[in-house]
C-alpha cells in the first residue's frame, strides 16, 4: 500500500514531462522541415485539456484516497547512508495534500479557459502537472532531506509558470522569484546541516527529535540555524525580509499561476516551517528564546507592513500579492506563539486563506481575461459588467477581512485566542491588536473594488459598460471556491477539531 504514495507523485510528473518532451520533439521536427510550430487549433486544445484534466483528477483522487486511508510510508531509495528519500503520510501531510489537490483541480479547470489568451498552453500545463506532483511529494515527505529536495524542485519547476509570457519583465520577475526562493532554501539547508548533526533522526516526529546530549553546549549555533530556517522557509511564505519576490512575480504571471503561487506554494513555506519547528526541533527548544521573539516580531511586522503596502498599491494583482504577504504571516504569527490554540488558528488560516486567495486571484484573472484591466482605478463599474464574478470576489473578500460568519473570522478568532492565551508577554496583546488593525486595512484595500464595481458613481459611464459574458469554465471553479470560503466558516467544527488534534499532537 505504501508504494501507492508514489503514484500521485509520479503520474503527474511523468505526464507533465511527456507533454514538454513531445512539445520539444514536435518543434524539432517542424524546424527540420523548415517551419514554425502552428498555433494549436480548437480540437487539439480540447484534446490537451481532456488529458490534463484526466491526469489531474486521477492523481488528485488517488492522492486524497491514499492519504486518508492510513499512515502509509515508503522509502524510495537511500540518498546517502542513513538519509533515505522517504515518504510518509501523517495528519498534517494529509491536510495539505487534500487542500492542494482541491485547489489544483479547480484552478486547472479555470485555466483551461484562461490560458487561451496567454498561449503556449502545452508548456504551461506540462509544468502545471509537474508542480502538482512535486507538491504532493512535498506533502508526503517523511524526512527533512526529502522535504528539502522537493522544496528545491518545486522552486525550479514552478519558475517557468512565472515567466510564462516571456516578456523581459516576467523573466526578471522569475529570476527574482528563483533567487529569493533559493536564498531561502539555502538558509533552510543551513539549519538542516546542523539539525542532522544534533538530532537523533531527520524523520518527522511529532514533538521533535532533538537530542540534548548530541547538542552539548552548541545551543547558540542551533538557535542561529533554526532562525535561519525560519527566515529561509519564510521566504516562500512571504515573510519579511525575503518577501519582495511576491509583489514582483504575481502581476506578471498568468492569473492561475499567481493563484497557486500565492494560495498553495506560499503555504509550502509554511509547511516547511511547521515541519522544522514542530517535527524536528521541537517547540520547547525555541520557546522563550530570542528566536521566538524575533520570529513573532517579524511575523507581526510583515502582517502590518503587507497590509499597508496592499492598501497603497494600485495594481490589482500586486495588491493581492501584498495581501498574501500579510495574510500568510498571520499563519506564521499563529505558529510563532507556540501554543495549541494558536497553531489551530494557524492551520485553519492556512486552509481558508488558500481558498480565499485563489478565489481573489481568479477574479483578477477573469477581469484581465475579459477586459484587460489590471489597475484598481480602472475597475469602476466592473460589477455591472460581471456581477457574478464580483459577487464571488465580495464573499471571498469578506472572508479574508474576517466578518462573521465567513471562514476568516474563525481562523482569526483562534489566532487571537492563541496569542492571548500563550505566555508571550507583550506580544499577547500586541499581536491581536495588530491583527485587528490589519483586518481593517484589509477591508480598506479589498472592499473598494466591490463598492466601486457596483456603484461607480460618476467615474464611469454606464453605457460604456456592456454586460460581459462570464465563461462557465471560469465561473464554476470561482464559485466553488467562494462558496467554500463561506461554508467553511459556517460549519468549521470538523476542521477545528482536526487542526486542534494536529496542534495538540505536537505541542
Amino acid at each position: 500500500m505504501g508504494a501507492l504514495l508514489l503514484l500521485p507523485v509520479f503520474l503527474p510528473v511523468v505526464a507533465g514531462t511527456y507533454l514538454l518532451v513531445s512539445l520539444a520533439v514536435e518543434k524539432q521536427k517542424r524546424k527540420a522541415e523548415g517551419g514554425e510550430l502552428p498555433e494549436p487549433d480548437e480540437e487539439a486544445r480540447k484534446k490537451l485539456h481532456t488529458r490534463v484534466l484526466a491526469v489531474l483528477v486521477v492523481s488528485a483522487v488517488l492522492a486524497v484516497v491514499v492519504s486518508w486511508s492510513g499512515d502509509h510510508s515508503v522509502t524510495l531509495f537511500e540518498l546517502m547512508k542513513g538519509i533515505p528519500v522517504y515518504f510518509r503520510v501523517d495528519d498534517i501531510g494529509r491536510l495539505f495534500v487534500t487542500l492542494v489537490s482541491i485547489v489544483w483541480v479547480l484552478v486547472g479547470v479555470y485555466s483551461f479557459v484562461y490560458m487561451e489568451h496567454e498561449g503556449k498552453e502545452q508548456r504551461f500545463f506540462g509544468f502545471y502537472l509537474i508542480v502538482y506532483g512535486v507538491l504532493v511529494a512535498l506533502c508526503f515527505s517523511g524526512n527533512l532531506v526529502t522535504l528539502y529536495m522537493f522544496y528545491e524542485i518545486m522552486t525550479l519547476t514552478s519558475m517557468p509558470m512565472v515567466l510564462h509570457n516571456g516578456s523581459h519583465e516576467s523573466i526578471m520577475a522569475a529570476l527574482k522569484y528563483l533567487f529569493y526562493s533559493m536564498c531561502g532554501a539555502y538558509l533552510g539547508l543551513f539549519a538542516i546541516f546542523f539539525l542532522y548533526r544534533y538530532c537523533d533522526t531527520l524523520t518527522f516526529t511529532a514533538g521533535g527529535t532533538l537530542n540534548p546530549e548530541l547538542l552539548g553546549n552548541n545551543t547558540w549555533i542551533l538557535l542561529i540555524a533554526v532562525f535561519a530556517a525560519l527566515i529561509g522557509f519564510g521566504a516562500k511564505a512571504g515573510m519579511f525580509p525575503l518577501h519582495a519576490w511576491l509583489p514582483t512575480a504575481h502581476p506578471v504571471a498568468p492569473s492561475p499561476a499567481s493563484a497557486v503561487l500565492s494560495g498553495v506554494i506560499a503555504k509550502a513555506g509554511v509547511l516547511a516551517i511547521i515541519r522544522v519547528v514542530f517535527y524536528i526541533v521541537g517547540a520547547d527548544f525555541i520557546r522563550g528564546t530570542w528566536v521566538q521573539t524575533a520570529w513573532m516580531t517579524l511575523a507581526l511586522l510583515t502582517v502590518f507592513m503587507g497590509s499597508m503596502m496592499a492598501f497603497r498599491e494600485k495594481i490589482f494583482k500586486k495588491r493581492l500579492a501584498y495581501s498574501t504577504v500579510s495574510q500568510v504571516s498571520y499563519v506564521l504569527f499563529g505558529l510563532s506563539v507556540l501554543s495549541p490554540v494558536g497553531m489551530t488558528g494557524a492551520l485553519l488560516h492556512v486552509i481558508f486563506h488558500m481558498f480565499i486567495k485563489c478565489a481573489l486571484f481568479l477574479t483578477a484573472g477573469t477581469f484581465i481575461f475579459r477586459t484587460g484591466k489590471t489597475r484598481v482605478e480602472e475597475l469602476y463599474g466592473i460589477g455591472k459588467q460581471m456581477p457574478l464574478t464580483v459577487w464571488c470576489y465580495t464573499f471571498a473578500s469578506l472572508a479574508l477581512i474576517g466578518i462573521p460568519p465567513t471562514s476568516g473570522f474563525v481562523s482569526k478568532w483562534y489566532l487571537a485566542q492563541g496569542a492571548l492565551s500563550a505566555n508571550v508577554g507583550a506580544f499577547g496583546w500586541a499581536g491581536p491588536a495588530i491583527l485587528l488593525v490589519s483586518a481593517l486595512l484589509t477591508a480598506g484595500y479589498l472592499l473598494p473594488v466591490t463598492t466601486n464595481g457596483f456603484f461607480p458613481g460618476n467615474k464611469a459611464n454606464p453605457e460604456e459598460l456592456p454586460r460581459l459574458s462570464e465563461p462557465k469554465g471560469m465561473l464554476i471553479p470561482l464559485a466553488i471556491l467562494a462558496a467554500l470560503t463561506v461554508l467553511l466558516g459556517i460549519f468549521p467544527n470538523p476542521l477545528i477539531s482536526f487542526a486542534g488534534q494536529i496542534a495538540s499532537s505536537v505541542l
Partner: protein, 491 residues
C-alpha cells in the same frame, strides 16, 4: 599485477605524446586514431591497475639515497587516478572536434597527452619529493597549452600562470624540505610523518612552514589571493580549460594540499592550531569571492573559471577541516566537481566552436537551437548549485557535516559561506540557462539560424557527464563508502 604497471601508466602517455610530432601519420584521421588509442589504452591500463590495487612501490630513480622518485598506489591516489583516467579519453574525443578550428594540432596533442602521464604521476607519487617533481613538471607541460593560440592575450596569460605556479611551488618547496628533515620518512603515511621528538619546541615554526606550504600548493587551486591566473588562462582552447583548469591541474593542486595536510604534516599536529585558522580564513573567503567574481563576469568561460575558483575552495575547505569526514567531503567534491565543471566547460566549448560567441549576452535563445548542449549545461548548473538529487548536493552535504562535526565556529562560518556561494552559483548559472531558453518576447530566432548542436564526438562526453551527475546524485553510496575507507585509514 605488479608494481611495474606504475611507470607504464605514467610514461606511456609521455612517450607516446612526445612521438606525435615525429611519427608520419599521413592524414589527420590516423593521428586521431593514434592519440585516442594511446589515451584509451592508458586509461584502460590505469583502470585495471586501480581495480587490481597492486602493492609495493616502483622506484623510477634516485636523486640521493633517501631522495627517490618512486610510485605507489594508495586510496587517495586511486581517487585522483580514477578521475583523470575516466575523463581523459572523453576529453580527448571532445578535443578532436574542437581543435578543427585551431592551429598547430600536433603540438597541442603532444602536450595534452604528456600532461596525462604527468598528472598520473602526481596521483601515484609515493613521497613528497616525487609529488613535487611531477607538480613542477605539470606547470611546464601545461604552459604551451595555455600559450597555444599565441595571441598577445595568451602569452600574457601564460606568463601570469607561470609566475603564480612557480612562485607557489617555491614556497611549497620549503614545506617539502621540512618534511624531509623533520619527518620520519618522506613517504606519504596516513596521519602524517612528523617526528615530534625532532621538533621539540619548534612547533610554531613547523606550523608556519605548513601555512607557507599550503599557500604554495594552493596557488594551483587558484585560492585567493592567488586566483587571478585561472580566469586569465581561459584564453586557452576549451578542452584545455575544461580538462586542465577544471580538473587536472587545479585538482592536482587540491590533491597535493590534501596529501601534505593529511599524509605528511598530519592532522593531529595541525588541528586546532593557529595554522588551521590561518589557512581556513582565506579558503572560506575564496568560496564567496570566486562566486561573486563569477557573477560579475560576462565572458562565459571566465565566469566558469571563477566558479571553479570557488568550488576548488570547497575542496580545500574539506581539507582544512582536518578530520576524516572532511577528507571524505573534499574527495567527493573533487570527483563530483570534476564531472560538473568539465560538463559545463564542454558546453561552453561547444558554443564557441559552433558559433564563436564567447559572451553571455550573446547566448539569447540558444536553448532552442542547441537543446542538447544547453540541457547538459542546465544539469551541470543545477548540480553546481547543489540541488538534491544531483551530485553537487552530496559532496556539499558531506563537507558541511564535517564542518558541523568539527564544532569550530570558523567552520560554521564556512558552512554559511558554502550556502552563500550556492546562492550565487544559482544566480550566475541559471541566468545563463534562462537567457538561453527564454530569450524574451519577440526574440528573432533568425539571427541565430546557423546555430545547431555539435556532432556526436562533442555530445557523447556531455551525455556521459550529465548521466554521471544524476547517477552520482541519486546513488553516491558506492563512492562514499570507498572514500570512507580511505578516511578510516587516517584514524
Amino acid at each position: 599485477m605488479s608494481s611495474a604497471i606504475f611507470p607504464i601508466v605514467v610514461l606511456l602517455p609521455i612517450v607516446a605524446g612526445v612521438l606525435i610530432p615525429v611519427l608520419p601519420f599521413g592524414n589527420r584521421k590516423n593521428m586521431m586514431i593514434y592519440i585516442e588509442g594511446v589515451v584509451l589504452l592508458n586509461a584502460v591500463l590505469a583502470v585495471a591497475m586501480l581495480v587490481c590495487q597492486p602493492e609495493g612501490e616502483f622506484v623510477l630513480f634516485r636523486f640521493t639515497h633517501d631522495l627517490t622518485l618512486s610510485l605507489h598506489l594508495d586510496g587517495m591516489g586511486t581517487v585522483f587516478a580514477a578521475i583523470i583516467s575516466v575523463l581523459w579519453p572523453l576529453a580527448t574525443l571532445y578535443s578532436f572536434e574542437y581543435m578543427t578550428h585551431e592551429r598547430h594540432e600536433k603540438v597541442f596533442f603532444t602536450f595534452y597527452t604528456v600532461t596525462f602521464g604527468i598528472t598520473m604521476g602526481i596521483a601515484l607519487a609515493e613521497d613528497v619529493v616525487t609529488m613535487y617533481c611531477f607538480y613542477e613538471m605539470l606547470t611546464l607541460v601545461t604552459l604551451p597549452l595555455i600559450m597555444h593560440t599565441l595571441t598577445r592575450e595568451a602569452i600574457l596569460a601564460s606568463r601570469t600562470y607561470l609566475y603564480y605556479s612557480l612562485g607557489g611551488a617555491a614556497f611549497a618547496f620549503i614545506g617539502v624540505v621540512f618534511i624531509l628533515i623533520y619527518g620520519t620518512t618522506s613517504n606519504f603515511v596516513p596521519g602524517g610523518v612528523l617526528d615530534l621528538a625532532k621538533i621539540g619546541d619548534r612547533t610554531n615554526l613547523l606550523l608556519l612552514i605548513y601555512v607557507l606550504c599550503f599557500f604554495g600548493f594552493s596557488v594551483k587551486t587558484a585560492m585567493w589571493p592567488f586566483s587571478a591566473w585561472l580566469p586569465k588562462a581561459g584564453v586557452a582552447p576549451t578542452p584545455v580549460t575544461a580538462l586542465l583548469h577544471a580538473v587536472a591541474v587545479v585538482k592536482a593542486g587540491a590533491f597535493t594540499v590534501m596529501r601534505v595536510t593529511y599524509y605528511s604534516f598530519g592532522t593531529e599536529f595541525l588541528k586546532g592550531t593557529w595554522a588551521q585558522t590561518a589557512v581556513m580564513i582565506p579558503v572560506i573567503f575564496t568560496i564567496v569571492y570566486g562566486c561573486s567574481r563569477a557573477l560579475k563576469e560576462t565572458h562565459l568561460k571566465r565566469r566558469l573559471a571563477w566558479s571553479t575558483v570557488s568550488n576548488l575552495s570547497y575542496i580545500l575547505f574539506g581539507a582544512v577541516l582536518m578530520s576524516p569526514l572532511g577528507l571524505v567531503g573534499a574527495l567527493s567534491h573533487m570527483i563530483f566537481h570534476a564531472t560538473m565543471k568539465i560538463c559545463s566547460f564542454f558546453c561552453a566549448g561547444a558554443v564557441i566552436t559552433k558559433t564563436g560567441r564567447e559572451y553571455i549576452h550573446q547566448l539569447d535563445g540558444f536553448g532552442r537551437k542547441m537543446p542538447k548542449v544547453f540541457a547538459a549545461f542546465t544539469v551541470s548548473g543545477l548540480a553546481l548549485m547543489g540541488v538534491p538529487g544531483l551530485c553537487g548536493f552530496i559532496s556539499k552535504w558531506n563537507l558541511v557535516q564535517a564542518a558541523v562535526e568539527s564544532g569550530n565556529p570558523l567552520a560554521y562560518a564556512g558552512v554559511a559561506a558554502l550556502l552563500i556561494s550556492a546562492l550565487l552559483t544559482a544566480i550566475y548559472m541559471l541566468t545563463i540557462t534562462i537567457r538561453a531558453f527564454f530569450p524574451g518576447k519577440g526574440f528573432d530566432y533568425s539571427t541565430i539560424s546557423d546555430v545547431e548542436d555539435p556532432s556526436w564526438m562533442m555530445l557523447l562526453p556531455l551525455l556521459v557527464f550529465a548521466v554521471a551527475m544524476v547517477v552520482f546524485g541519486l546513488h553516491p553510496e558506492p563512492i562514499l563508502s570507498r572514500l570512507g575507507l580511505i578516511a578510516a585509514s587516517l584514524r
